[in-house]
Symmetry: C2
Subunit: 693 residues, 2 copies
């Protein structure tokens, strides 16, 4: 890379194998409170100071369901991707008013419609609680360690929320960083009244569909606008990023602020092998089969197609992403490199008696725990993981059954998914008005019951308990057609009625969730005590050892917490052919074939003559991002939005395990495209104006 | 294993890593002209002499489409599996006369119906032609080696057939054994007038369906009876095996004579890694997706279900088999063992200057060729391998287009699939009267065109040439609805008319096959010259080295040629629980739930009281078998049929890479079950009688 600067060269000489040392190019999903401003200054001549970083922190938001976004107006507008709001847009549609297909524009604020399941989190405070966690878990291993770790997290989260005058308006999460070398307490403002303001047609937001996904050149206006309300009024956030009318040019410095969901760059070799040989192939096969099933299901008719499109896209997106990761793990030299790195760390630990006493057996302990996971993963994932019961109704039933049992317990000893800190999100989902489609439910439940029988075997006691003498389809039909859980009122009654109400319920889906709960809890306990506890503890020991050996001036693996990456606008070289960093509106019209998924919507075709066709549409940067960064703002030095991350290129998929700055690119919608489209295609000049202030 | 005998112990001491040495238990798919009779005698007290072996050879047959069978009456009855005849039974069915569902019984010989696509091969002569092949390829490498190897094979095959008074009634194949350490010329009698005599209902033949596939206990009557005709009369084969009324008891010696399709026990590590990391995962994902698709397609209606059932079973069967192989390659310690074995062989070669000069660089050469294969495998499999065009109509079109170009060439230089030795099979398929289902064709072609675009990319020149601006579905519909290739007469005209007729044809499917032929040939040439030629040559060198180091008293990897394995009736231990070797008719009634795939057909329910319920139905043996052995007779020392192989247990799937005698089991229908069912359930006493003589 042209910009490799002295500081990095020094680090490289110091410790050839640390993550930081391998951070060539613009690698790094950095913590905002440990940002390498000095490096950025040396490389790009701009020094992000604390004030600037704090402004970026407050202007950035998280969609709790799994995306990123940012405040882009003083009246609480949030910019994110279309695909991050797709589920909401589908939920707000009906068979006769398909807002996914036709797009949506609220003409006035009164026309803005609430999304049933979107929660926005805005990070306000970070507190290092490593000492608290270490104190609580000192000297412990196995189950006692794991229980103590969870209890202190629950305790800290609750104390944090209770200290706020309005506990239900904040969300406090204890966050594991560096695989346990550090624990931070993150405090967010929590917003659940989030309304849809604007979404283009899916045909343009996802132009090129799955064939173009993770590819570039790209021509997508993958954006949506939401507005946060509080007490019935638009929120006026403390910080926001205005959209830049000038955008960027090639080579410009770019920052991406967002919530990368997870990376696996610091896993042990045994963990990588588990991913390569067990977890990822298994997930891919499941996704491939259900992809075929839903693809064919869509042909049943327009309504079936409409209500399963978001699901299909999610499946296809995961499939492509995980497949890219699998290719990375099975293509030389990645595993050879990882093997050498681990050998180096092992040698460094072995040389130091203190480290050796502490973490000398941790590699092996993790390996053994994963061997145990291999043995139990099928019953664990099918019985407890819900893989055997893929149905929204079942999910609701399990939440009701489990909630009734867990909520009366002290906060510290509940399953983490029922801690006070997450209950508002749980109840938002539980009481969501989003429609549920029985026809689709029957298909996904039939599929998963079939897999349950296939993987556990027709003679397995759990399978017999669930299916009896029924076929998967017969049972799925009975359950879906018999349940009354489509009624939000019934769910509220059962939630509020607790164990007594749930135990008395004769709803067949509730009965199923009750029937399997003991078995599911049993296998979960095996997993937690014999796998999770061992892995977490030894990851923590190894992380501490790694920090002692290689220092801590690096970034932790992504954990769906706020990170900032730096980079620049730059194309790459694909098999000897340069890929230019920008595409234009004109390119979209060139690429259009009139056949899905390359058919532009009528609004675009009608506006062609009005458009400035050389306006940049999408562009790529060298920023280090991954899934979860969708919806992240790309900002310039003035903290103006110059772009909107919506994808990575195909080479970014191996980014789960390491960053290759030569070809790994983030893909974004250009701010100029957003303004051009709002004004000239969608007649939303007033939104363009609001975004520019 | 209890029966490990001195001979084997000696070999073990001599060379701990040869295939023969690892042949513990009853391992081995042995050549009939190199059968370890001495070992069998020592272990089981029976000495299969040349006469016995020759009788077994002549009584055994191959179904050229991919199964095994045997003559079981002097009037040409062949016993094979239901699933080996499933395609025929489906082809002979109509929407209103579903013989797959209802079963089939020819009341008289006049009612026996010809299968449109079954070819039977009966091996009569074996000739060692290693010297001829070695002479023809002496001193050659790369493309010249590969061309010479193919030319001498074509030449030997043609000379063999031409030497017969009726060349079109024989089939001569040059067979590669031990990966090229040996070449044999196999001469078969070829029969294409094969008629369906009896098949039970699918519900019982495949009782338990995919959930029970590769599992045991099992309760399937997976049998069918065919009869070979010649000149309009039933054939009277020189040898046949009568069915045993007495069957077997636990511990009895059993032989399985059949055509295992392929094993990978002697591959190099690089080849295994290619399978593990590239080929198998890729195939599994494809199978999983199309499985989901066809599963859902079956719900369109009873007719769609009827005409896609054989396809779905084939997909599910392959999926389970390959997945088992993938589990074997990703579960310790297999790869570690293989690594150690290869290191041993490498060391032995390195120690011997002569061997070293010959094969010292072969491991690396194969590895490099496979790296090249990784680069070209996508265009190769989609453009040439037909993966982008999964449609029976397209297959016919390609055969016509290719045939027109290849058949005028000298036999020695044609693509092997158009050599004189295989043309009768090609034309049987080409002129088959089997129905083709346009609705299903559209689905499979849409799917494969979608994958073509997905894998090669929407901007790929080949993809653009094929699709233009059309979507996969639009093009698939045009092609399938536009082609006239359902007309067998048209196919005959085009085949006989050669290039002139094919070039002039305006049939859209013919036009597509013409359009892509140059590209497909180009990528095939790259594959053949840069991958196949290198791998074949170096496999041959390594095989010769292996033979010199470890001797030749072993068995070669399976190649869909006749093999004989020995073993005994024996259960195994599953996680501490003994699995008994036999199931009974009574067990089938116990397992029946009334819901598919565990619903017994009405004939069985009606006959329950007449049946001797303790009659053995299925059983397991320690014989070493693999896919392709389906339909193999299990015979006793008197060469009576005591069983009919139809499956392996779940542990047999790793048998692709090595045999684990402790748990690998072959699964067979008991001869007593066949006789009991024919007499008491199907009212076919006369068939039972014919089989017992």
């Amino acid at each position: 890379m042209r910009h490799r600067l002295p500081l990095l060269a020094c680090l490289l000489a110091l410790s050839p194998l640390t993550a930081a040392a391998r951070a060539y190019g613009d690698e790094g999903m950095w913590l905002l409170n440990q940002f390498p401003s000095e490096t950025v200054k040396q490389r790009y001549g701009f020094d992000p100071d604390q004030k600037w970083l704090h402004h970026v922190q407050l202007g950035s938001v998280r969609l709790a369901g799994g995306c990123s976004g940012s405040f882009v107006s003083k009246d609480g507008l949030i910019l994110t991707n279309h695909h991050c709001a797709h589920a909401c847009i589908e939920q707000l549609s009906t068979p006769t008013d398909d807002r996914v297909k036709a797009g949506f524009l609220a003409k006035t604020r009164a026309d803005e419609v609430r999304c049933p399941e979107i929660e926005i989190n805005d990070l306000t405070d970070i507190q290092d609680v490593t000492a608290d966690v270490q104190k609580a878990t000192a000297g412990l291993t196995g189950k006692p360690y794991n229980d103590a770790r969870k209890a202190i997290s629950a305790h800290l989260e609750k104390a944090c929320a209770d200290a706020d005058p309005k506990p239900d308006r904040v969300r406090c999460d204890v966050v594991t960083l560096f695989h346990g070398a550090r624990y931070d307490l993150y405090k967010y403002r929590r917003y659940q009244d989030v309304r849809l303001v604007f979404a283009p047609e899916l045909g343009e937001a996802f132009f090129g569909g799955d064939p173009d996904n993770f590819n570039f050149p790209r021509f997508d206006l993958d954006m949506s606008l939401l507005r946060v309300y509080q007490d019935g009024q638009p929120l006026h956030p403390s910080d926001h990023f205005p959209l830049s009318k000038r955008g960027t040019k090639e080579g410009d410095l770019t920052f991406v602020s967002g919530h990368p969901g997870g990376t696996d760059r610091q896993l042990t070799l045994a963990q990588l092998l588990y991913l390569r040989d067990v977890a990822q192939p298994d997930r891919l096969l499941q996704l491939a089969e259900i992809r075929g099933l839903i693809t064919e299901y869509q042909l049943r008719g327009p309504e079936e197609k409409r209500h399963s499109t978001d699901l299909l896209f999610a499946i296809e997106n995961s499939f492509k992403a995980i497949r890219g990761r699998q290719v990375a793990l099975t293509t030389p030299p990645l595993m050879a490199d990882k093997t050498a790195e681990e050998a180096e760390l092992k040698a460094r630990i072995a040389k130091d008696p203190k480290l050796s006493a502490k973490a000398g057996s941790s590699f092996e302990a993790i390996e053994k725990a994963l061997a145990r996971q291999r043995q139990i993963r099928i019953p664990y994932s099918y019985e407890e993981g819900g893989r055997g019961f893929q149905s929204t109704f079942f999910g609701l039933a399990r939440t009701l059954v489990r909630g009734a049992a867990e909520r009366p317990k002290p906060n510290d000893t509940r399953f983490p998914e029922f801690r006070d800190s997450v209950l508002p999100q749980v109840s938002q989902r539980l009481f969501s008005s989003a429609p549920i489609f029985p026809e689709l439910e029957i298909e996904t439940l039939t599929y998963s019951l079939t897999k349950l029988r296939e993987e556990l075997g027709a003679d397995d006691a759990f399978v017999r308990k669930v299916l009896g003498k029924k076929s998967p389809r017969t049972l799925a039909k009975e359950l879906v057609n018999g349940t009354k859980l489509a009624d939000v009122g019934l769910r509220k009654t059962l939630w509020e009625g607790g164990s007594k109400a749930v135990d008395a319920s004769q709803d067949p889906m509730i009965a199923l969730a009750r029937l399997i709960d003991d078995d599911a809890r049993k296998i979960r306990k095996v997993y937690e005590d014999e796998v999770e506890a061992v892995v977490k503890k030894n990851e923590e020991l190894l992380a501490q050892a790694r920090a002692e050996v290689f220092g801590t001036k690096t970034y932790p693996d992504a954990t769906f917490t706020l990170r900032l990456s730096y980079g620049k606008v730059q194309g790459w070289n694909e098999n000897g052919n340069p890929v230019a960093p920008y595409t234009t509106f004109g390119g979209a019209f060139d690429r259009a074939t009139g056949e899905p998924p390359f058919d532009l919507p009528p609004t675009w075709l009608a506006a062609e003559k009005k458009l400035k066709l050389d306006t940049p549409l999408d562009f790529v940067t060298t920023n280090d991002i991954i899934g979860g960064n969708s919806g992240s703002p790309v900002i310039n030095q003035k903290a103006e939005v110059v772009g909107l991350i919506f994808d990575g290129n195909i080479h970014s998929l191996g980014g789960d395990f390491g960053f290759d700055g030569t070809s790994n690119r983030a893909v974004a919608v250009d701010s100029r495209a957003i303004l051009e489209a709002l004004s000239k295609i969608y007649g939303a000049e007033y939104l363009a104006k609001e975004l520019s202030q």
